[in-house]
């Protein structure tokens, strides 16, 4: 196809600068960004396991006494994470028009356990065995829709579902929506419930959400920015493990990853004064993660940008599926104030988001 395309999205000069102003986390062993860092220090520098006890999320303490009984666990997790993100951002109702506030969420398994439970009921007893109050939960967009309703966000509610990378894609979609004027602020997040299928033995569940708004909007309401969203991309690399390992795959690897990545970091990616960029590959396959880390580091070095690979945070091995890459972003923001996360799925989905340090207020 044409070689004229811009490989990665990044705001043009003069366009809206999107910033992260709050982080909300609701996963086992972490209810705040500080917990993410503490969890890593407890578990060492390797890829921490996800883990999950059956009662790790207490809806009464997080969501209150009422209003959550018929919501799916994935919806409850996302409501917990979004409430924490809004609180951290001090983003109160009325700060923006409700028609300017949006929700974008990624998920892979928000509906999967619900569907399995409903299907078992239908197979055993028929549709009358279903609860009418719970029936809407079969639709995977319910977590984002409930978040929009809960927080009165009426610009749009978007749910994306690509394996593993959907949360990063949701963040990019919301960022782009700020640029096009479809929204002025909102929540980008991801949520997962423990899958009902044996995708991996160490799967995790939970949610992560980021409050995102324009730099200008944040400043006008006196909110501090944690980091700026410099841009990103989503692509597809067929058979990623084989392609990354073979010399025959180099052209395809360059097209799907190397070219968009270097375009992204050279135009927008330098940290303050050209500082090295902390970099995490969020991937379920350690060998592939190592190859991609080396490949990306070398490609960027050739373009004059230094990536510094750092150990992943909770979920760095993709165990929380679409939530995992957002947890890595949350960790990087908290520890470094900037960074780059590349998420990959076994089937070939790739997405990357680059954060740069927030500019100090004038």
């Amino acid at each position: 196809m044409s070689g004229s395309v811009a490989p990665a999205f990044r705001p043009a000069p003069g366009e809206t600068r999107a910033v992260v102003t709050g982080i909300g986390i609701a996963v086992p062993t972490a209810a705040s960004p500080a917990d993410l860092l503490a969890a890593r220090s407890r578990l060492g520098a390797g890829q921490p396991r996800a883990g999950a006890g059956p009662d790790w999320f207490d809806p009464v303490s997080v969501l209150g006494q009422r209003g959550w009984k018929y919501l799916s666990p994935a919806t409850r997790f996302l409501l917990g994470a979004t409430a924490r993100a809004l609180a951290a951002a001090r983003l109160e109702p009325g700060a923006y028009e409700d028609t300017q506030l949006a929700v974008a969420a990624g998920t892979n398994f928000a509906a999967n356990p619900v569907l399995a439970r409903f299907d078992a009921a239908v197979l055993a007893e028929g549709s009358d065995a279903l609860s009418p109050a719970e029936a809407p939960n079969f639709s995977v967009n319910m977590p984002a829709s409930h978040a929009a309703a809960k927080h009165g966000m009426r610009a749009f509610s978007l749910t994306l579902t690509n394996p593993v990378v959907a949360g990063l894609e949701a963040l990019l979609a919301l960022t782009r929506a700020l640029g096009t004027g479809r929204a002025a602020a909102g929540l980008a997040g991801a949520t997962e419930e423990m899958p009902d299928v044996p995708v991996r033995d160490d799967a995790g569940e939970g949610a992560c959400a980021l409050a995102v708004e324009s730099e200008k909007g944040a400043r006008e309401r006196g909110a501090g920015a944690l980091a700026e969203i410099a841009g990103g991309f989503c692509r597809f690399l067929p058979h990623p493990a084989e392609t990354a390992a073979s010399t025959q795959g180099s052209a395809r690897l360059a097209s799907a990853l190397g070219d968009p990545l270097t375009a992204l970091v050279t135009a927008a990616g330098r940290g303050a004064q050209g500082d090295p960029i902390p970099f995490i590959v969020c991937c379920d396959d350690p060998e592939l993660a190592g190859r991609l880390t080396r490949y990306c580091t070398e490609r960027c070095a050739a373009a004059g940008v230094t990536l510094t690979p750092v150990a992943g945070y909770l979920g760095g091995d993709g165990a929380f599926f679409s939530v995992s890459p957002l947890l890595q972003l949350a960790g990087l923001i908290t520890e470094h104030g900037h960074g780059l996360v590349l998420g990959t799925a076994p089937h070939g989905n790739l997405a990357a988001v680059l954060l740069r340090p927030a500019r100090p207020a004038a």
Binding site: V5, F9, F118, D119, A148, S157, T159, P163, R176
Partner: protein, 394 residues
């Protein structure tokens, strides 16, 4: 602003598995639902607009794809061929993007396994792999998205495809939607009392709900500059505007004042740089759900009012296809593109008892033939995920 064109179309539907058969069926203006192809469907209402003789497909590892993904692969093959993108048909679609909307994704694979008393294999574990299946099959390494905003998913996927092309992230994006039958989906609508016992009959006073359908609608979305440079054969329509909104009101019921859907319609017109009187044709969401049809009709009348010219033709697509879920917005946009390019709005299936609360006249008997100029497409969903698209003649 550069125009973004629809340059290829492909369908798998209950009335045909290629564009010409599909169009001929719409022109006949009659269709009836069948029954779900599932002996395990223990539910009182088992009506479905079924894709008979469904296509099957496997991934590169030989794993059988879901009904949803197999529909998508076949419709995509037709759309890419129609657009003259033969490289992609040979698996070399580098740089082409994929943006697919689906409500249920690959859930049918899991249901089949459960009905057979098996646990789905780990290889089948991720439930939304349709966009990946398309990317792998046709070598489409460009931007890749799967949108699951329930029944508005593929209208959102089309809008995001336009955004990707407009941003210069790809010259070409394969966009659209696919949804295959799922037992749980139909069972849940049974339990919620959301199904019509006769047929899908939007805007009929005796409607009692919707009836689901299934299929895939695919569009090749392309920048006009790229299409001209490669000597593209034809273009069906331009995707000129999109308006997004969210009711933030209720999990299943539409917000009764319709203010959010009005906002989406007006935003789409604004983005297209058009006034209400420029709209010559409407493909409404029109599901047959009692409240949806009343609210949408009222808002359409309000938004498109103020003109003494010929009223827009309204084409009620779901009365032919049923409600194809996440594919519905894609089917509506594809049909609008055909209506604009052929300057023909197929006749609507006759209503036994038109609802006076839905005052838009639906032409029946004969098609309307004229240059419609621009078409408005609406797609709404559970959770109040609304979108309107505006398409224009090329």
């Amino acid at each position: 602003m550069e125009r973004i064109l629809i340059t290829g179309l492909g369908v798998v539907s209950c009335v045909g598995q290629d564009i010409e058969t599909f169009w001929s069926a719409l022109m006949r203006a009659h269709n009836e639902p069948g029954l779900v192809p599932d002996p395990h469907a223990r539910m009182p209402n088992r009506l479905l607009y079924v894709v008979t003789d469904p296509p099957r497909a496997t991934d590169s590892q030989g794993n059988e794809l879901s009904r949803t993904s197999a529909f998508a692969v076949q419709a995509a093959r037709e759309a890419l061929a129609d657009a003259g993108l033969g490289d992609a048909l040979d698996g070399a679609g580098d740089g082409i993007g994929v943006s697919i909307g689906t409500g249920v994704g690959d859930a049918g694979l899991f249901e089949a396994a459960r009905a057979g008393g098996r646990v789905p294999r780990a290889a089948d574990g991720f439930p939304f792999k349709t966009s990946g299946a398309l990317a792998e099959r046709f070598g489409l390494t460009g931007p890749n998205l799967t949108v699951s905003t329930a029944c508005s998913a593929s209208a959102y996927s089309a809008s995001l495809a336009v955004q990707a092309v407009r941003d210069g992230l790809a010259d070409v994006v394969l966009a659209g939607g696919a949804d295959g039958y799922t037992r749980v989906g139909v069972a849940c609508f049974n339990r919620m009392g959301g199904l019509d016992p006769v047929r899908c009959r939007p805007f009929d006073a005796r409607r009692e709900g919707t009836v689901f359908g299934e299929g895939a609608a695919m569009m090749v979305v392309e920048s006009e500059e790229h299409w001209r440079r490669r000597g593209g054969r034809h273009a069906y329509a331009a995707l000129e505007g999109a308006g997004w909104s969210c009711d933030a009101h209720h999990p299943t019921a539409p917000e009764p004042t319709g203010r959010a859907i009005a906002r989406a319609m007006r935003a789409a017109l604004h983005e297209a740089g058009l006034d209400a009187e420029d709209i010559g044709c409407v493909v409404p969401h029109g599901t047959g759900t009692p409240l949806n049809d009343v609210v949408e009709s009222r808002v359409l009348r309000e938004v498109l009012a103020g003109s003494d010219r010929t009223p827009p033709a309204v084409y009620s697509l779901k009365s032919m296809l049923g409600h194809t879920g996440g594919a519905a917005g894609g089917f509506a946009a594809l049909t609008a593109a055909l209506i604009l390019s052929r300057r023909t709005a197929p006749p609507n299936p006759p209503l036994a008892d038109p609802d006076p609360e839905c005052p838009f006249p639906l032409h029946t008997g004969e098609p309307q033939r004229r240059a419609f100029g621009h078409a408005l497409v609406n797609a709404y969903a559970f959770g109040g995920n609304n979108i309107s698209l505006v398409l224009g003649e090329v």
